[in-house]
């Protein structure tokens, strides 16, 4: 398919689906489900098509689309894909498709639900594919509203609270991003490329032909901090994480899957796509904080997970813990003070690749874990860890699949969680031995909370909670979702090269351009000092 059309088709196909659903009779539940699922499947196929057309050896953006949008503000409709966004696009369409299958358990207002669901998918895909800062921001906010309603209307007992908490947190992040966006716009001369993420990145590393002005090193730090907080809220990193457990606990299962599987990745993606390339000096300046926050999130999240009694809350805190690795991997950028060169750039490259892998891996494993919690919740309508037990005997197939997915979360070799974690940790010693050791100690705590939870839910002589009579074996639809996720977890765990090959050129280019950006900023600072 023509790349111009393909990217737009991927983004707007779900929205088209939503539009069609709007004209359907709201009582035609089966048709609504089928159409919604159909659109997510076709979107998934299109992203696979995109993968097929993707050229591995091109370091920069591919299939770039650029059209006028709001001329007077220099806003363009710019799309493109590279090795960093492609895996996330595929992950998004896959998780959305599986979440659509999981949405069979939604039992009210199906039409509204699926319309919002599809709009949400459009927003997510749009963020990953847009190359214009303004467009990026628009899609970022577009995602917010459907999510707010999906939690607020279809959620659990405290849904209004969770929804407003989620909304406000994310909105604050959005506002910070908006400020940073305007900083870039006006400091780069408010030209036609001032919202162009690619040109802004090139300007930061001094290789842009159209943008000559950009932020001064000190302003870069400010902009980076604003952007980082905005994205750290989404990630979520300590101390901006408290919206997550509430949102997850109240959200319906498929929405939890999307939330953990895709939305959290937007934070990491924002850092790697926007914050890093646009403010390399700021990134370097804050690198230690990034790694330290990452390490702290791992330990803090793991401890908090250990103390939970709500199954879903435990999985939510495990997300906080696992996403800490993403920050570490991105942040392990060490520059020799004397030479101004990156020390062991390959280590940092490994960290970035590990962080990207961790995002995808967590997208698979946490979506799987949330789904597994949902499966049992649909049957017994509670999530109290102390009131389960013995499910291995009652639902053997379900328990086996769940064990696989939880082991993936535990970071067992051969499953996807291992590769991301271990590669990040291995790259960390080069940066800071202390932080690396603390990060590595996470393996003990992770094993602790996951195994303990599994013991309380799946092992034991008998089921201890209410609605024992409703425990039925896993059905075909649930088996499909869990099986696909587990299969992906195994494939990624055994052949991580699939992803690394995809990302290699783009991440290498990122490392090089960041180095250039640092050198440029350092030169500017030296000039300033000389003038004084």
């Amino acid at each position: 398919m023509n790349p111009d059309v393909l990217l737009s088709a991927i983004i707007f196909l779900p929205a088209l689906g939503a539009l069609i659903l709007a004209f359907l009779d709201s009582r035609a539940v089966a048709q609504i489900r089928a159409i919604a699922l159909g659109f997510t499947v076709v979107t998934f196929v299109l992203t696979l098509l995109l993968w097929g057309q993707f050229k591995y050896d091109v370091p920069g953006m591919q299939m770039v689309v650029e059209k006028d949008w709001i001329g007077t503000w220099n806003v363009f409709y710019r799309l493109g894909v590279d090795g960093i966004s492609l895996p996330l696009v595929i992950l998004t369409s896959m998780v959305s498709m599986l979440a659509a299958v999981a949405s069979w358990s939604i039992n009210k207002q199906h039409k509204g639900y699926f319309i919002l669901f599809l709009l949400l998918e459009t927003g997510m895909l749009g963020v990953f594919l847009s190359l214009d800062f303004f467009l990026f921001f628009v899609f970022w906010e577009v995602m917010l509203l459907p999510m707010y309603f999906l939690i607020g209307v279809w959620g659990g007992p405290r849904r209004e609270y969770a929804a407003i908490k989620f909304f406000l947190y994310t909105l604050v992040g959005g506002v910070l991003m908006l400020i940073a966006m305007l900083m870039f716009y006006f400091n780069s001369g408010a030209t036609t490329d001032s919202f162009n993420l690619i040109e802004l990145a090139k300007a930061a590393s001094g290789t842009s032909e159209t943008l000559t002005k950009t932020l001064s090193p000190n302003l870069q730090i400010t902009a980076f901090v604003l952007l980082f907080i905005g994205f750290a809220i989404k990630l979520p990193a300590f101390p901006f994480h408290t919206w997550l457990p509430d949102a997850h606990v109240e959200a319906p299962t498929p929405i939890s899957m999307i939330l953990a599987g895709v939305l959290l990745k937007l934070g990491g993606y924002g850092i790697i796509r926007v914050a890093f390339p646009l403010c390399p000096y700021g990134a370097y300046y804050a690198a230690y904080a990034l790694v330290a926050i990452g390490v702290f999130s791992i330990i803090y999240g793991a401890f908090a997970a250990l103390a939970q009694t709500d199954f879903k809350r435990l999985v939510a805190y495990s997300s906080v813990s696992h996403m800490g690795y993403v920050l570490i991997g991105l942040g392990v950028w060490k520059i020799g003070e004397a030479t101004g060169k990156t020390i062991n750039p390959d280590m940092w490259l490994m960290g970035i690749n590990g962080a990207m892998f961790q995002m995808i891996a967590h997208g698979v494993s946490s979506a799987g874990m949330f789904f597994m919690v949902g499966v049992i919740y649909d049957r017994v309508h509670h999530r109290d860890l102390n009131q389960f037990g013995g499910l291995m005997g009652r639902m053997p197939l379900y328990s086996g699949l769940a064990a696989g997915l939880f082991f993936a979360g535990l970071g067992l070799p051969g499953l996807c969680g291992f590769i991301g974690e271990i590669f990040v940790v291995l790259s960390a010693w080069n940066y800071s031995p202390t932080l690396a050791i603390v990060a590595a100690s996470g393996v003990i705590l992770t094993a602790g909370y996951i195994l303990w939870a599994m013991q309380r839910v799946y092992m034991g002589s008998e089921y201890k909670g209410p609605h024992s009579e409703d425990i039925t074996p896993i059905n075909g639809r649930e088996l499909t979702v869990a099986g696909v996720l587990l299969a992906f977890a195994i494939i990624l765990g055994v052949f991580p090269g699939i992803l690394f090959d995809m990302m290699q050129s783009s991440t290498s280019a990122l490392v090089d351009s960041m180095q250039l950006g640092y050198e440029k900023a350092a030169a500017t600072l030296n000039e300033l000092q000389a003038m004084r």
């Binding site: 103390a307 067992l412 070799p413 080069n430 003990i444």
Partner: protein, 778 residues
């Protein structure tokens, strides 16, 4: 070419069990009649059995390729002399390549860094492969009989209770057991085949999870799932150290590979072992100024960084690497202070204990310590030696008072693993690994015997309820006796010594040579010697307790019976190996095969590089004290066995009386030196406290701040409303009312009478003109 062939055969042996696992788990689950079919078992046996044939074939190919140069070495004279010249093996391997390595596939490439799955095949790999597959085959066959009561739709688990006091009834899980066993074999063989330390870590974790699954096989039992969790988490603590070692290695060496990958006689990828060069004294090559360890190429030339400086690693970090990797070994091999998980792991079915928790997985720690030996410096070796020494004593003392037959064997396993570690730590590399192999045979034999006893006694494991079973189950009893003699290390005329005699001798000899070189560390010889006596004591105690004397529980005794052939045949095979596998001792084939590719710096003495450092004895030094050490060890063992006979084999002494006299000591030992309680208080409880704090912190601090902010917003907006409604609106209303009143007052003049308006206009015009003329005159 030979490397490729070897890789081919070993890959088959390695991957077949994985295929077996997939087939067993899926066909087992979906087949119509999984509860009564032994198909899964035969599939598993077939896979591992073919694996054994492949390994043996690989061994044959390897030997033919180098014309069995390893074994010929012995014919030059007695073993002490062969290794006397350090260069001997190097010339050998130059003529005959004996180690092969290469890449299986790549996990990820990051610039110059490359993470791959490799293979590394040398004589140690091949011996381990053959040993693991052989023992695993025997145990799989044994398990067909042992697990046969799972072949039912309604298995009653007498150890798992429901809340109404009944037993758990569940369908049998025969196929699942064999699936897990196959998965374990795959992981274990992968660990042995691994060509880099990262890959070892991968399979290290995989054997760990298989162990978890098998310990927790009876998931209904709380004790089983507790034990499974404990095993995995204790191992993870060791792996935390392993991970630190990996991080340092990766940062400074940039590779995980063991050996050099040679293509067309050119080194294409250098491995770790040749990067740390040992000079003529056997110490690692160091920078003369900084004291850092130099990283060299295969010929001992120092490698340089891009900026021309020498590549080097601080000495203390080399120690950190060694200690880190060894921490992993401590966890896996249940060494002090992480030993507490292994006895609990006996919750698993007995074949699991035999395969996973004695012969193979727990020995993997020793295997890794042996495999990674070239990277260990003196400080690390000393730590290994002392860890082994403490462990072997500690576990042996607990074994003396244990009453559960499997627990005795478990502690004995820990103790024997301690011996192996000690051997490696005191520079007896070959001795440690030799003991690994012999121990694998006799300990798996004894575990299977105990399994046979338990099966025959209908799942009774407490020795105080047994006794007098000798003629009820003679095959089991006598094969067990072979194992007991082997572990005690008994000597027999005509060279028919039990295998343990040779291997334990080798360890004790190494220890004796070590303390000759370093008199300050004399405990490293005395404690193992003493423990050799204790070993014989608790082992014979177990045998007498179980098989001779009066039956202590008539019910158990009456129903006891010998096991079927499917269980006894493996016992006989293993008994033969346990007795004779080390035939010939240190000039026997097993020992020579094992040492075929031993690290070359072992041959000669290593003198300490610094004052007060550790001297390491070479082969000649060890050989010189061999006979002395052997005599001492045999005396210790015989006295231990004698005491056991007096106490438990005869009725001369009242054991209960002794127990009461030594109540304090007995309680201390029976409570396992209170390690579990200590760890609970030191780590488990604080961890849960911290966890509770973190969870509380989220709600009490972050959310409170957030809610506070939200509330203050609401308060502000309320004031805003008040302000809006009183001040702003008031102002607007004020203006409105003012306008209104002005309007109202003006209304007075709005009369509607024309004449009046005309008069206003005229007056106005006149007034305007007056103003104009006065202000603008002219």
């Amino acid at each position: 070419m030979v490397g490729e062939t070897l890789k081919f055969w070993l890959m088959i042996a390695w991957l077949l069990p994985l295929a077996g696992f997939v087939v067993e788990i899926f066909f087992g689950f979906y087949s119509k009649n999984p509860r009564h079919s032994k198909a899964a078992a035969w599939c598993a046996v077939g896979c591992i059995g073919i694996g054994f044939l492949c390994s043996a074939n690989a061994l044959r190919i390897w030997g033919n390729a180098n014309e069995w140069c390893v074994l010929e070495a012995a014919e030059h004279g007695d073993p002490g002399d062969t290794q006397a010249d350090a260069g001997h093996h190097e010339t050998d391997s130059a003529e005959h390549q004996t180690a092969y390595s290469g890449v299986i596939y790549t996990l990820g490439v990051f610039g110059s860094l490359e993470v791959t799955l490799d293979y590394y095949i040398d004589s140690l790999t091949l011996v381990m492969f053959t040993m693991v597959t052989l023992i695993a085959t025997c145990i799989h066959v044994f398990a067909i009989g042992y697990m046969s009561d799972e072949l039912t739709d309604e298995y009653v688990d007498h150890s798992a209770h429901t809340s109404d006091g009944g037993h758990v009834h569940r369908p049998g899980r025969f196929y699942r057991f064999f699936a897990f066993m196959s998965l374990f074999c795959f992981a274990m063989l992968g660990l042995v085949l691994a060509g880099n330390i990262f890959q070892v870590f991968i399979f290290w974790e995989l054997v760990g999870i298989c162990s978890f699954l098998l310990i927790g096989f009876y998931t209904e039992r709380k004790t089983a799932s507790d034990a499974a969790n404990k095993a995995f988490i204790m191992n993870r603590i060791g792996d935390f150290g392993f991970l630190i070692g990996l991080m340092v290695l990766w940062t400074f060496f940039g590779t995980f590979r063991f050996g050099d990958t040679v293509v067309d006689e050119q080194v294409v990828d250098q491995g770790l072992f040749s990067m740390v060069h040992r000079d003529g004294t056997g110490n690692v090559a160091r920078d003369e100024v900084t004291g850092d360890v130099l990283i060299t190429d295969t010929h001992g030339h120092v490698l340089t960084n891009e900026d021309g400086s020498n590549r080097q690693i601080p000495y203390y970090l080399l120690v950190v690497i060694g200690l880190g990797i060894f921490a992993g070994c401590v966890g896996k091999s249940a060494q002090f202070p992480l030993q507490t998980w292994l006895p609990d792991a006996m919750e698993g079915p007995t074949p699991v204990s035999a395969l996973v928790h004695s012969a193979t997985m727990v020995a993997a720690g020793v295997y890794l310590a042996g495999r990674f030996f070239p990277m260990f410096v003196q400080e690390v070796l000393l730590t290994i030696a002392y860890t082994g020494c403490i462990t072997l004593f500690l576990a042996a003392t607990i074994a003396m008072v244990a009453t559960d037959i499997k627990k005795v064997l478990a502690y004995s396993t820990i103790s024997q693993l301690g011996y192996m570690m000690l051997g490696i730590g005191v520079f007896g590399w070959a001795a440690g690994l030799f003991h690994l192999i012999t121990h694998a045979f006799f300990k798996s034999l004894m575990f299977l015997c105990s399994g046979s006893v338990i099966y025959g006694c209908h799942h009774e494991q407490e020795m105080p309820k047994m006794g007098g079973l000798l003629w009820k189950m003679p095959i089991t009893a006598f094969t067990m006796l072979v194992g007991v003699c082997a572990i005690s290390g008994f000597w027999l005329p005509f060279g028919l010594h039990f295998s343990g005699f040779h291997s334990k001798d080798a360890i004790v000899a190494s220890a004796l040579a070590f303390i000759h070189a370093n008199p300050a560390h004399f405990m490293l010889f005395l404690i193992p010697l003493l423990t050799a006596g204790i070993t014989a004591f608790y082992m014979f105690r177990m045998w007498f307790y179980t098989f001779v004397g009066k039956p202590r529980d008539q019910h158990v005794h009456d129903h006891a019976h010998e096991s079927p052939w499917v269980m006894t045949v493996p016992l006989l095979i293993l008994a033969a190996f346990a007795w004779f596998c080390a035939y010939g001792g240190e000039s026997g084939h097993l020992y020579l095969m094992l040492t075929g590719d031993e690290p070359s710096h072992l041959a000669a003495d290593v003198t300490a590089a610094t004052a007060g450092g550790i001297n390491l004895p070479g082969h000649a030094a060890i050989h010189a004290v061999h006979d002395d050490a052997g005599r001492w060890a045999l005396i210790a063992a015989l006295s231990g066995a004698l005491i056991a006979y007096v106490l438990y084999g005869t009725n001369v002494v009242n054991v209960e009386e002794i127990k009461r006299q030594l109540g304090g000591v007995h309680g201390f030992l029976a409570n396992k030196w209170y390690f579990d309680d200590l760890y609970d208080a030191l780590f488990m409880k604080p961890a849960h406290k911290v966890a509770a704090f973190c969870a509380w912190f989220d709600g009490a601090v972050f959310d409170r701040i957030l809610h506070g902010a939200a509330k203050s917003m609401i308060v502000v907006s309320k004031w805003d409303r008040v302000f809006d409604e009183t001040v702003v609106d008031g102002f607007v209303n004020l203006i409105a009312s003012a306008t209104q009143s002005v309007g109202a007052s003006l209304r007075v003049v709005q009369t509607g009478r024309l004449r009046q308006y005309v008069m206003f206009i005229v007056l106005g015009v006149v007034a305007l003109f007056a103003v104009m003329f006065t202000t603008f005159p002219g």
